[in-house]
C-alpha cells in the first residue's frame, strides 16, 4: 500500500511525536509513506478566512505534486491539513471556473486524480482491524482512553465523509483493537478552541477546560487525539487552566498513533512519548 505523505507544518516542530508515531505505525502495518517533496503549507486556518482563492490554491499545489509523483492517494495526519486538501479537491471538481483560476495561479494543471485520505480511515479500512489486532505484541490492557475527535474529523459531513458525525467510534474501535478500554463521554466532538489559543488565550481556556473536565469525569487515564492542534491546545495549557479554574487535571494527551505504536512493540522514543508535556509515563507504567 503506497501513499503520498503530507506531514504539514505542525508535524515538523510542535507535533514531531505525531510524525514519528505515524511513521512507526505505518511501518508495522505495511503502509508505505512517500513524503511529498518540498511540500508547502496548506494555509489553514488563515487562508480561508481572508482569501478563498488562496485557500484553494495552497493545498492544490500539493495535490498537483502528488499527481506528479504518480500517486493517487495522499495521507495528511493533521486534520486541518486534511480538510483543506479535501476542500480544494472537491471544490475544483465542482466548480470549473475555480479550477481554471487555480491552474492559472499555479501555472500548472490538475487532473483531479488524487484521493485525500484520513489516517484513521486508512488504518481501519485499508489495513483493517483484523491485521491491527494481529500486529499487537503489547496490548494496552487496563488503560482507560477517552477518544477525542474534535471538530474536523467528522465535520462538516459532506467534506469529512467519515464516521458518525455526532457520536463517532472509529478511534474507539482502533483503541479497543490494541487492548485498551474506551470510555463513553459527551465531549468527543466538542471544539477545543485552538484557533483562539494564541490570539485570545482566555477564550480558548474556557473550551479546553470543558473537554478535560469531561474526560476526567468519565474516568479516563488519558485522552487520545488525531490532530496536532487539539493535542497542543489540550496538553500545553493545563497549568494555565489550573491557575484560572483551580483544577489541575494532569491528564496526558496522546496521539492515537503513539498508543498504537507502543502496542505494536515500538519503543517510547520511537513514538516520541518523551515529547508530550503532561507526563504520560505514570498511567502507562503498568504496560
Amino acid at each position: 500500500m503506497k501513499y503520498a505523505y503530507y506531514p504539514g507544518c505542525s508535524l515538523e516542530s510542535s507535533a514531531k511525536e505525531y510524525d514519528l508515531s505515524i511513521r512507526a505505525c505505518c511501518q508495522y502495518a505495511g503502509v508505505d509513506l512517500i513524503e511529498v517533496p518540498d511540500w508547502i503549507c496548506c494555509g489553514a486556518s488563515s487562508a480561508h478566512a481572508t482569501s478563498h482563492l488562496l485557500s484553494i490554491a495552497l493545498p492544490a499545489k500539493t495535490l498537483v505534486q502528488t499527481e506528479k509523483m504518480g500517486l493517487h492517494q495522499i495521507i495528511a495526519p493533521c486534520i486541518a491539513c486534511l480538510t483543506r486538501l479535501k476542500v480544494a479537491d472537491m471544490e475544483m471538481e465542482e466548480h470549473g471556473d475555480l479550477k481554471k483560476d487555480v491552474e492559472t495561479v499555479l501555472e500548472s494543471t490538475y487532473k483531479g486524480s488524487v484521493r485525500v485520505r484520513n489516517i484513521l480511515d486508512v488504518f481501519l479500512n485499508d489495513v483493517g482491524l483484523e491485521k491491527i489486532e494481529k500486529t499487537v505484541t503489547t496490548p494496552l490492557t487496563g488503560l482507560k482512553v477517552a477518544c477525542y475527535y474534535g471538530c474536523l474529523l467528522t465535520r462538516p459531513p459532506h467534506i469529512a465523509q467519515f464516521d458518525d458525525v455526532e457520536n463517532p467510534h472509529s478511534m474507539d474501535d482502533l483503541m479497543r483493537a490494541i487492548g485498551a478500554e474506551t470510555v463513553d463521554w459527551s465531549f468527543k466532538t466538542d471544539c477545543c478552541g485552538v484557533s483562539m489559543s494564541l490570539a485570545e488565550t482566555d477564550v480558548a481556556l474556557e473550551l479546553t477546560n470543558k473537554v478535560l473536565e469531561g474526560a476526567r469525569d468519565a474516568g479516563a487515564d488519558c485522552v487520545a487525539v488525531a490532530c496536532p492542534l487539539c493535542q497542543s491546545n489540550l496538553d500545553l495549557r493545563q497549568k494555565a487552566i489550573g491557575n484560572k479554574f483551580g483544577v489541575f487535571y494532569d491528564m496526558p494527551i496522546l496521539y492515537f498513533s503513539q498508543l498504537m505504536g507502543l502496542a505494536f512493540g515500538a519503543t517510547t522514543t520511537d513514538v516520541g512519548l518523551e515529547k508530550v508535556i503532561v507526563n504520560p509515563f505514570p498511567v502507562l507504567g503498568a504496560i
Binding site: 516542530s13 510542535s14 481572508t50 490554491a57 477564550v203
Partner: protein, 198 residues
Amino acid sequence: MRNKLEEAKNIMKVAVKEDTTAFAKEIQRKCGQDVLTCYQCRKCTMGCPMAFRMETKVNELMRAIQLGLRDEVLSADTMWWCVSCETCATRCPQGIEIVEVMDVLRETAIKEDYYIPVESIEAFHKVFLRSVEAYGRLYEMGFAMDLNLMLKDPLKDADLGPVMMAKGKLKLRPHKVKDLKSVKKLFENVRKLEESRV
C-alpha cells in the same frame, strides 16, 4: 376602512422600497449559500461553542443578512469569534454551510476595510500568512513571537517557550522550502487575479 387599507399599503411600500435581498444574493453569488432559507430555528447558536463571546449571535447574523443590513453585518463581531468548528453547518436543518458564509463575510470585511472588532484575530491571520509567504511553511516559533509583538504583548506565553524547547517541540530556525520562488509566484498570482476582478 378605505383609509386603513391605504395606510397598510403605504407601510408595505416602505418595507419593500428597496430590494433587501440584495446582500443575501451577493453572499449566494460568492459562496453558493442561500441565507434566505433560514427560518430562525436557532440550532446554530445553540450548538455554537463561541456563542458566549459573541455580541451578535449566529442566528441574529443570518436574520440581519436577510434584512439586507450590509454595514451592520460586515462590522459584526460574529465571524471574528467563529472558530470554524462546523457544528452550526452540520446541524442546520436548511443545509446552510454557515462557515462558508462566515468566510465570505471575513474576506469581504477585510477587502472593504470594515472595522474589525476582534483585532487580535485579524493580526493572527496576517502574521500566519506572512510566515507562509516568506518560507513556504509556517514557522511556528517566529509566528508566535511576531503575533505577540503585533498584540503589544511580547512576553505572552514566554513561560511555554522553554517547556516546548526542552521537549524538542520548537524549531529555532524556519524551514525554507527549496522552491520558494513558486510560493511567492502563487501569492502574487492570487493577488493579481483578485485585483483584476474588483
